[in-house]
């Protein structure tokens, strides 16, 4: 037990390499994914499809990097990858948003179904259109050097995606607390009927936009993972980041500022768990248990406050 915990700690914070090249590298996707989930939950959109939106972002970023290849310089290619990834994530979320608005399909179910369809898509991509040239391994070829995202610190693996995540969290913080858009999002999440009658807010439009932005964040995380970490596409590219993101968002009480802290905490947990599996033989899926227990703990602690507001939004919009 102590041996396992020591391995966990060492893997997460034991050395400068552990901090800058393991913990924070794993925090990067969680920052973006957690922010996306939190924004959606704030508006009463229970988007639990971050995993699928992440995968679609990763697929699209890989595809664009491979197809334009070395012909385009980094300064153009990297923003294009980020944009294409975000658009892919937003489109994938857009399907669920459209199904909710047009047909009243619960987004909890549709986003989960889209996660499975995204998994099937990536499985096909790495054995079909995007498979590496020798056609032996189920993965893509390495993306060209110009598509690889810059590292932030020499000798460490921390990449541009982390910085983007911090930046977006800061922007979201300002937007949510200081602007009319932010007020609308919070009003819709608190009570859609009150938002419509008293605030004259177009609930449907707000929900649709937040859903798209949420998916965009997840798609961007997928692009950043391919560009900054794996440099190739393969099926296991996400160890369930999209689900961990739900815990990241809930633990942060859906607040963009706390997302940073919460994402680093879960990033450390993921990094430590890999070390624990390697050094102490404890399977890293144990992280999922911890994630679930934390979600349940937050629920038990908050009871009818905090996240409870989203439920009324859900109920109001469905009828």
């Amino acid at each position: 037990m102590t041996e396992a915990l020591l391995a966990l700690w060492d893997g997460a914070f034991g050395s400068s390499y552990a901090i800058w090249s393991a913990t924070l590298v794993r925090s990067a996707p969680l920052l973006l994914l957690g922010l996306g989930v939190a924004l959606a939950f704030r508006a009463g959109v229970l988007n639990i499809g971050a995993e699928g939106q992440f995968l679609m972002g990763a697929i699209s970023a890989t595809a664009i990097a491979q197809s334009v290849g070395g012909a385009v310089p980094s300064i153009v290619l990297i923003p294009v990858m980020a944009l294409v990834g975000a658009l892919a994530g937003a489109s994938w979320a857009g399907i669920a948003a459209w199904l909710r608005q047009r047909f009243g399909v619960l987004e909890v179910i549709s986003t989960i179904m889209l996660n499975f369809i995204a998994l099937a898509s990536i499985s096909w991509m790495v054995r079909g259109p995007l498979q590496e040239p020798t056609r032996i391994y189920p993965q893509s070829a390495e993306i060209p050097a110009s598509a690889q995202w810059p590292f932030l610190i020499p000798g460490q693996r921390l990449h541009l995606g982390f910085l983007l995540g911090l930046l977006l969290c800061a922007i979201a913080w300002v937007v949510l607390t200081r602007t009319a858009i932010g007020f609308r999002i919070r009003a819709v999440g608190a009570s859609p009927s009150a938002a419509t009658s008293a605030g004259e807010i177009d609930v449907a439009r707000t929900v649709m936009r937040v859903f798209l932005v949420s998916g965009g964040c997840a798609g961007l995380a997928g692009a950043a993972e391919v560009g900054g970490v794996t440099w190739a596409l393969y099926e296991g590219i996400s160890p369930g980041y999209g689900y961990t993101a739900i815990a990241v968002a809930l633990l942060a009480r859906l607040h963009p500022g706390w997302i940073v802290v919460s994402a680093i905490f879960f990033g450390a947990l993921e990094a430590g768990a890999s070390a624990m599996q390697r050094d102490a033989g404890i399977p890293s899926v144990v992280v999922q248990v911890i994630v679930a227990v934390i979600i349940l703990g937050v629920l038990a602690g908050s009871q009818r406050h905090g996240v409870g507001g989203t439920a009324s939004a859900r109920a109001g919009s469905r009828r």
């Binding site: 399907i95 179904m113 898509s121 899926v285 349940l296 009871q303 109920a315």
Partner: protein, 303 residues
């Protein structure tokens, strides 16, 4: 044609069987006005519970183990949603993560990284004397495992219980209007506890059936979204027992189509068939809008 059709229909019934258990459990839960999104976690717990118990005491013990694991998971759900009044959707999501994580951890802990107890006891199909001899219907409907035959009894029983008994009426009343049920002196909490735990038992049976009657072993994440598909099946079955069983067949067919189309040698990527049940869920949920008669209390999940 028979060479393809009969194996396809046979596979449809076989894959629909576990789905039907989970969907009937979800049906009872939803009829009490609570949606259990955590059915996925219950099913995977039932899978491992079934495997472990079967390894210790044979196939029958396996099904009991599945039920026990499912009920334990449902207990957590009921505790949070009914006692602590936590958001049902997020609790359900956490339950799914808990089920997937816990089974993965325990499985590797129990069987090591190389995995599987490959000598898991399993139950074989039993041909019902006489009935199995009927052309087409016989090999399809009456050459299945005991778990399928049990459904033939359970579905009409549940339909009768829901529509014709006092307890079934009370369950439906709670799902339609909590306030009216309370006014009528019905113990709403007790009925919902019962409905959620029954859902857990049925989800556990789904998992045990998957392991002991269909796949024959355990793999991590083998529930593969069946908990969510069960929710779609209930919608397609319009919250009725017989309808739900028939809807399970549609999804059984979507899974079975993989075998049929592979056997037919179609040159389509197999991932398309992997995605088919999930695509079907989306299409059906969209198409059934407005015609569905959901229990009214489902809309106010924060209760």
């Amino acid at each position: 044609m028979d060479a393809l059709l009969i194996p396809f229909l046979d596979a449809t019934i076989r894959t629909a069987t576990p789905l039907a258990y989970a969907a009937l459990g979800e049906l009872a839960t939803e009829r009490s006005g609570v949606i259990n999104i955590g059915m996925e976690g219950i099913i995977i717990a039932g899978c491992l519970g079934g495997l472990v118990a079967a390894g210790a005491g044979g196939a029958t013990m396996g099904f009991l183990g599945g039920v026990l694991a499912g009920v334990l998971m449902a207990l957590i759900f009921a505790l949070f949603v009914l006692r602590l009044r936590a958001n049902a959707i997020i609790t359900g999501t956490a339950l799914t993560l808990l089920g997937l994580g816990l089974t993965g951890t325990l499985y590797r802990g129990l069987f090591g990284l190389e995995g599987a107890a490959l000598d898991t006891p399993s139950i074989a199909p039993v041909a019902l004397p006489g009935l199995a001899a009927i052309p087409v219907i016989g090999p399809v409907l009456f050459t299945q495992t005991v778990m399928t035959y049990l459904l033939y009894l359970l579905v009409p029983l549940l339909a009768w219980w829901l529509t014709r008994t006092h307890a079934g009426l009370a369950l439906r009343a709670v799902g339609e209007s909590r306030a009216a049920a309370l006014a009528a002196g019905i113990d709403v909490q007790r009925i919902r506890w019962g409905a959620i735990l029954f859902g857990g038992a049925m989800g556990g049976l789904c998992g045990a059936t998957l392991v002991l009657a269909q796949v024959g072993t355990f793999t991590e994440g083998m529930s593969a979204g069946r908990g969510f598909i069960a929710i779609a099946i209930v919608v397609l079955g319009r919250w009725r027992a017989v309808g739900t069983a028939l809807a399970a067949l549609v999804f059984g067919g979507a899974f079975a189509l993989q075998y049929l189309l592979q056997a037919a040698g179609w040159a389509l990527p197999y991932q398309l068939f992997l995605a088919l049940p999930y695509l079907l869920t989306l299409v059906l949920l969209a198409a059934l809008r407005g015609r569905a008669e959901a229990p009214a209390e489902l809309a106010s999940q924060e209760r």
